[in-house]
Symmetry: D2
């Protein structure tokens, strides 16, 4: 029998969107199964969620501390925990499981403070745990293809990067009408120092970093707050310089009518360019200098092996968000299985966003806020 890993979940009770996404994405490949959880502070919701997934009631816990401790002490305890709480809880929950030697999957942004993120990294290393930060979009096969094209030198030396992530859902102050997602996203206590840069700007940062391998040298950020009574940004423009001399702009917005989740990344080099759009994730634009733009379609024979190995479907049969998510879990679980069976792994060989990606994200958010607070001046990244 195909050996499934066992996982628990903190957060993700009935009515939670993102908990459901993690569970379905894991189910798509069937490499791990849910066996424990503390799904909600609402005891009733917590129990019902446990029942819904057929969990042993003794493994539906009332606190994450209890769960971490008890699962660590079971012979058949969970192999990893999935943390899908609001941002402000990531740190303490992750810490608790790492302390108990349990590997962690955590939503982004990893923590509010950089120091917290660094602490988690140390703890994971010390306790021999793996850590995945679920930046969904790098899981897309064609984002991997973009990276492969850049890595094999097909676009030459990178000069210019333009990336954006426009949404429209916060165009009105729906938090005043009690919209749940909007309530916590626009609340500094739950979201941290930034809403828009934190939530979606960080996806831009991660995707660019993933595809190009470049490090940010310095940045200038302008962050806007639209909508009466709001205190956190919902639109931001950022100018960046990278360690290789390239230049870039990022734009993220939650007030851009006409857009849902239109993450788009364009990388221009001396010899070519690539363009990936999340909403059209089965395709990739690739242009060589002096040649027409080509539209690469996932699943075709010309796709590189490092990307193609994540295909589940042939070309023209769309994959989507769940598959991207599943690809991240697939790589993480593969690594974890080897680790758990006593193998020695090099995390770099596994294509999932590890804790360093999480740390970079927290740093990026902090630097944007710092630049803004100083009057939109250059802020060095390191």
């Amino acid at each position: 029998m195909q050996q499934k890993l066992k996982y628990g979940m903190v957060g993700g009770g009935i009515g939670s969107f993102i908990g459901d996404v993690h569970r379905r994405a894991i189910a798509l490949d069937g490499k791990a199964e849910l066996v424990a959880g503390v799904f909600s502070r609402d005891k009733d919701n917590c129990e019902k969620t446990g029942q819904l997934f057929g969990l042993d009631p003794s493994r539906v816990y009332s606190s994450y501390q209890e769960m971490a401790e008890k699962e660590a002490n079971r012979r058949d305890g969970i192999d990893f925990v999935v943390i899908v709480t609001p941002n402000n809880l990531h740190y303490s929950v992750a810490k608790e499981f790492l302390k108990n030697g349990i590997s962690v999957s955590c939503d982004k942004p990893l923590t509010i403070e950089i120091s917290e993120a660094l602490e988690l990294k140390d703890l994971a290393k010390k306790n021999n745990c793996l850590f995945v930060v679920t930046y969904t979009y790098t899981g897309h096969v064609m984002a991997k293809e973009a990276r492969a094209i850049v890595q094999r030198g097909d676009i030459g030396q990178i000069r210019v990067i333009t990336a954006e992530y426009p949404q429209s859902w916060l165009v009105d102050t729906i938090e005043k009408k009690g919209q749940k997602q909007a309530l916590w996203r626009t609340d500094p206590k739950q979201s941290g120092k930034s809403n828009c840069v934190g939530d979606i700007g960080s996806h831009i940062e991660n995707m660019v970093s993933y595809i190009t391998g470049l490090k940010i040298k310095k940045l200038i950020a302008n962050m806007d707050i639209f909508g009466e009574g709001r205190t956190l940004d919902n639109n931001a423009e950022i100018i960046l310089k990278y360690n290789n001399g390239a230049s870039g702009t990022y734009w993220c917005s939650q007030v851009a009518i006409g857009y849902d989740n239109a993450l788009k990344v364009r990388i221009f080099g001396t010899e070519g360019a690539v363009e990936f759009i999340q909403e059209n994730c089965n395709y990739l634009k690739f242009t060589k200098k002096g040649q027409p733009t080509c539209i690469l379609s996932r699943g075709n024979g010309y796709i590189s092996e490092t990307a193609a190995k994540f295909n589940r479907l042939p070309g023209g049969h769309p994959e989507g968000f769940f598959e991207a998510f599943a690809n991240i879990y697939s790589a993480f679980v593969d690594a974890l299985k080897i680790k758990l069976s006593g193998g020695i792994i090099n995390e770099e060989d596994f294509d999932y966003p590890n804790i360093d990606a999480g740390i970079d994200g927290v740093k990026f958010i902090s630097k944007c806020v710092e630049s803004m607070e100083k009057g939109s001046v250059w802020v060095d990244f390191d």
Copy 2:
């Protein structure tokens, strides 16, 4: 606990594409679990597939006849069987399970002969079984939205339909090099009277029928055979007249370089038009007379309830082929649960392709072949 139905599978051993698709699509919602199967004529493959999914070895059978009989006699026997064999076996396998009172999910085209399809319908009715024919593409949320728009009269009376399904995978005679899919698709013994119309033309017919509710009155077909040594069609053009006076053309091709699975349906009425493209399945074009064309995006508030209830993700987070498949299973399993618990259902209330859709598909293929054989003349549909 969420009660899962139990299913078995005929076909779909390791290395099979479509068996994997059915299993993953069902897993996405977790409403049913695989417990039995005869996955391959190759005993070894069959056993290994059973092990891979952790099946009780006693429920991994060596023939579908044995499986049908034994499962029917178990208290915890399967609730339905999934048939993913080559076309020529659909009829006998389905018949065996229906005879034993087991509901059926079967790939399309349903059977080779219309008489066989009609016999299965009678048998299903007599033995109180449900029957789903897995025409994937009508499972897409935006195909459902197209239907909703047509049904509420927004495009007026339908006048013209143009639909196409171009692929390119058979542009070369890859069956001569042993490509497995190509081998059986181009073999009349396994595919039946038609390859291209049977495999993908039938998807056009089903999608148009689903969205419009129109019945074909008569058709003219031209079927082409490109590639030396081939005996079955790989390109076809069809002109149709519908019962309401509308006119249409269908084009399907397996030699159309540049296309993967580009099923596209356009419906033009007196007051508006809709256009759905499978490869871009999260969007739908809708135009009202005298107004600009609008691009509807899945997951937004303006989508009709009948379509929106199948959403798993918000707008801008792509759903794809697996979700379409899962939607069909979700509706089928919902209906079957009610049926199994003694409820009385009206199959029309459940949005999945039932045996009538399967029968229409077989008839459509037969009529195309008949028209072609008579010199591409009009052939009445009934």
Copy 3:
């Protein structure tokens, strides 16, 4: 000084759309100037049009017969006449000018009857006149690029052609409200045997013929009449076989809501495919077997010389309908200048639609009507 040819016009008075197009297109290059005309049966309009363009009043005529005769007898008489009347007058007007040794530019469809078209061809040859039939769309640079790609063998042997020309302007019976264009288009006395196939189906035929060089072997046509009280077709579906064994479908419609002038031609061969869309005329899709689809952009260095020589603007600065028109006139005037200066020309060396293209168009329309009248059966083309 750049020597300009002199032309006259029949039809095209104030308020005429197409007369204005011809004049502007010619003006764009300044290779010829308007000096004479009979612009309208309405004497007043005719005179005012002459004044508007600063014509010598003695060269504003009251009949085309008078114009042909008098211009032929002037030392500075017109070098060619532009015929922009309703279809039914093309034959007699063209005949009159050819008889007087004046070259002709005529709108399509060339004539109502094939015999008339053949007669004009003989007459032109006998009187040493050139003849251009203004099928606009083959004038587009990227249509020429499509032809160049096909001619150099890049798509291999052609197997399948799909082409369409959907419009929406006749979705309602606007001729009943006196819309001028609709009045004559839907009137058999002025349009001839067909409205839709004649007006826009003929553009499909011409474009496919231009790009591929293939001859139609036989066709089946279905022609529909939508709208109460109408007697001519406004929607048609045609299946074709070409002389090389290729197969095709054409669809033209004037009732396709959402479309303006969306002429689209796709040519599929054994080694590649090209796709041209008139509304997006600065680009061309080109796919080689097993490779991603490329988007060629007019004005770039990779465009073939035979197409690129017609560029007026660099890539990314859109050219459009006027340029296509102007390209046809440019090639025609170049040929005519040589001819008029006593040179001997091979008409095939000049890239404009000559009278043979006009004859093919008339034949195509006739054959479609014949197939329809016989019950949509195969009709041989020759």
Copy 4:
């Protein structure tokens, strides 16, 4: 007879691209005719250009000073001059003609220094001359439609603007190989303080200003120089704040492989958004809050009157760059005719870019350079 205005040209000899564009664009409508010029410093080229256009040799001048003086003294002297020289000459040439009471059409950027631009404005006013600065792209019908939509309040209060103009032609240092355009564009003596921002960034500024009517309050600019040995920018990112509190980013680049002239402007308000792309100039995206995105197509009945009056062709028959240019001249000539016939005009009533647009452009370039020189800090616009 339609009275044509008479114009002269400075620059634009044989081999010049932009001179040809101005002439063709003016010819398209035939509202003005070329009668005089000093086309090149190369006497031979100058004379040949005059001959090519059939000019009276006495009106082909050897210096713009001579031309201005002599034309001013002729009864049939030119009504306006078209200046198509390199940037650095705009100021002195324009000044000379204005001093002689001759209205001016001048390419952008208007001048190198703001003070020069202001001086020209005063001079034009004093001498009762009109002045058009030929920012081509605002001439597009759908740019005018975008403005109409914003002006009638359909997108509410503007919050965010993102605009870009990527090109790729300077990705290599082609000026080293003597490419003529590249030579002067990359030369500070001829181009002024900026290459990329000056040439194409200024088009972004003008288009945003035209559509929105907003004034820039302050900006931050980063300007990059890619390519060895270059001294002027060829890539720039700019963050802006507008007078109404809106926020924006502009990106312009001449090293963006895959792009030709892809000017794109997106305006997001509290109630809707519009998006215009120059390369796809016959269409406009328009989204109302909570509604699907619509694709407006030029030439259709739903286009506003202020935009539609510039149509030359029905929907689906592409207009392009020449028509945009011609629209600017059409509005300018209309105004000038009234002025010349003694009428009093309000320049705001005529839809062409006047000298204020030119001044704003020069200021924008200066402010970007100033911000860059100060280390990419906020610079106030006024």
